[in-house]
């Protein structure tokens, strides 16, 4: 390896990390190092063989592997240094990065760091389901890897808990591969993922959906042989007498994703209790100077295209920091108000145009999305599963009054 100091070190080579590394090189960084713990670049894209990727970024409908390949080629062409099968063990606030791979352990001191570790799935242990602990209980993502990469079918008669996108996509995939999906069980009164998945994964194959239901018991000693489903009351407690037994040999859990931030935490990066990811400003910089973050480790996105865009922004700003440009003061806090679950970025300068991403708490129709008292936008429909992108122009930002230090975002019915 070259002895010049590393300008930008990127942790994780999924779509956010690849975009960050490519953009850092484009923005003038000489040495960009991309660190990946798996055997190849691309993160989870290789197991997401369904289409729907790239509609925004490339205006093209691509599969996960195709979308990933475009960026893998760019990484190869842009003289980015890549370390595969390498785990980052430690990150400090002064940007000392300790790596471990088959060559041993080493500590590097890059000028800036981009955190793009993505997210992981919630497992059975993070939700409460009583019953035995037999074989046959998988997260939807594990099942996806088995079916799409390794060539195994996890079971023949399947119940899926959670109607998020991964759960619905696996319902279709398993049906196509000859398994029978007996039910998708959802706690909420509506399906949790994108509308195209609801139609093309669930309705196309007549998969039964049980809304406002949960799994109250798992049966089977060696292997799952069934689950008990029950209707929920308004407080989300099972209603006695509504229990129903469904015979199955496999239970898939699609019950949410958790941003991976052990390293961020170690470095003293402040995390947002709602997103579970770093609090970032409009430059995707965390509270620790020189440490940037992007993608699903900041907040769980529904479209890869947005992850790529965020990664590019983090990569560009990390490169600027590495070249000696100082961090900027972020004076104004964006706060989640009425019917807003979270806002990213959480801090802005208030001086230049900014793209705000947010999620609502409850679905609604004909609502007004407000950014403090400076901007209001009518929206026909909002859903927690569809992230909202809002561009706040410099013209709107001029309306910010002198001593304002926060803008409350809200999304409510017209009053």
């Amino acid at each position: 390896m070259n002895s010049a100091p590393i300008d930008v070190l990127v942790i994780g080579s999924g779509p956010a990390g690849m975009a960050a590394a490519i953009q850092a090189r484009k923005s003038g960084s000489e040495r960009v190092l991309l660190v990946e713990r798996a055997e190849e670049l691309g993160g989870l894209l290789s197991q997401c063989i369904h289409n729907g990727f790239g509609l925004i970024y490339f205006s093209e409908d691509m599969t996960g592997p195709e979308y990933g390949q475009k960026f893998i080629e760019k990484v190869m062409d842009s003289k980015i240094e890549v370390l595969l099968e390498t785990m980052v063990l430690r990150l400090t606030a002064d940007r000392k990065v300790t790596l471990c791979n088959r060559n041993g352990v080493q500590t590097l001191a890059p000028k800036s760091v981009v955190l793009t570790m993505g997210c992981r799935e919630r497992a059975r242990e993070s939700i409460v389901i009583s019953g035995y602990r037999p074989a046959g209980i998988f997260t939807a993502g594990t099942a996806q890897r088995w079916v799409n990469i390794e060539g195994y079918l996890p079971g023949k008669e399947i119940v899926i808990l959670g109607s998020g996108d991964v759960g619905m996509i696996m319902a279709r995939r398993l049906t196509l591969e000859g398994a029978r999906v007996k039910a998708v069980v959802e706690i909420l009164p509506y399906i949790g993922g994108l509308i195209r998945n609801e139609v093309q994964c669930i309705y196309d194959f007549n998969i039964p959906v049980l809304l406002e239901h949960t799994i109250s018991n798992i049966h089977g000693i060696q292997r799952v042989n069934g689950v008990t489903v029950a209707r929920l009351d308004q407080d989300k407690n099972p209603i006695p007498g509504t229990e129903k037994f469904i015979e199955c040999d496999t239970l898939l859990l699609s019950v949410g994703l958790i941003p991976e931030n052990e390293l961020s935490f170690m470095a003293g990066v402040d995390l947002d209790p709602i997103t579970g990811g770093p609090i970032v400003n409009e430059r995707m910089e965390t509270n620790v100077s020189g440490i940037y973050a992007a993608g699903n480790c900041v907040h769980v996105n529904d479209l890869v295209d947005n992850v790529t865009l965020e990664g590019e922004k983090a990569g560009q700003n990390a490169a600027e920091y590495a070249s000696g440009k100082a961090s900027q003061e972020m004076r104004i806090k964006l706060e989640a108000g009425e019917n807003v679950r979270y806002v990213v970025p959480q801090m802005i300068t208030g001086k230049r145009e900014v793209t705000i991403r947010l999620r609502v708490k409850e679905p609604g129709r004909d609502v007004i999305l407000r950014v403090g008292d400076i901007m209001a936008k009518k929206l026909k429909v909002v859903k927690p599963s569809e992230m909202l992108n809002l561009i706040v122009s410099a013209k709107h930002l001029k309306e910010i009054k002198k001593r304002t230090d926060k803008l409350v975002m809200s999304c409510q019915k017209e009053s």
Partner: protein, 123 residues
């Protein structure tokens, strides 16, 4: 003559309009209602006449470090033919080297669509 009404959920945007398509016994469309834009109307009519889908799946790889090769149709095919294509593809085996875009099955089941690789297959 009886009027048959089908409800189609539009997937063009998050509005997810519920579009009703009314047709006669011969499936001639009489009226379309409930959409909020031109694209929505077009989608509902096309979806009523013949729902078309992209199929994405895998085929078995031999002589490779990979167990499977991910593939897709390069054009949309009728929704009703998805399972037929799956049954056909269950018998297909491929060997390296292959790269994204390579044709695996030409004109599958005479549907006018090729099955192409979407990933790389190495030794």
């Amino acid at each position: 003559m009886t009027k048959h009404v089908s409800e189609i959920i539009c997937i063009v945007c998050p509005l997810a309009c519920r579009v009703s398509v009314a047709a006669d016994d011969e499936r001639h469309i009489l009226e379309v209602d409930g959409f909020q834009c031109k694209k929505g109307k077009e989608y509902a009519v096309a979806e009523y006449r013949s729902p078309m889908r992209v199929l994405t799946t895998t085929v078995i790889a031999t002589k490779s470090r990979h167990a499977l090769l991910p593939v897709r149709t390069n054009r949309v095919i009728p929704r009703g033919k998805l399972i037929n294509c799956m049954n056909y593809l269950a018998k297909i085996k491929v060997k390296p080297p292959l790269k994204a875009g390579d044709v695996i099955v030409r004109n599958i089941l005479n549907l006018g669509s090729d099955i192409i690789a979407v990933g790389t297959l190495l030794d």
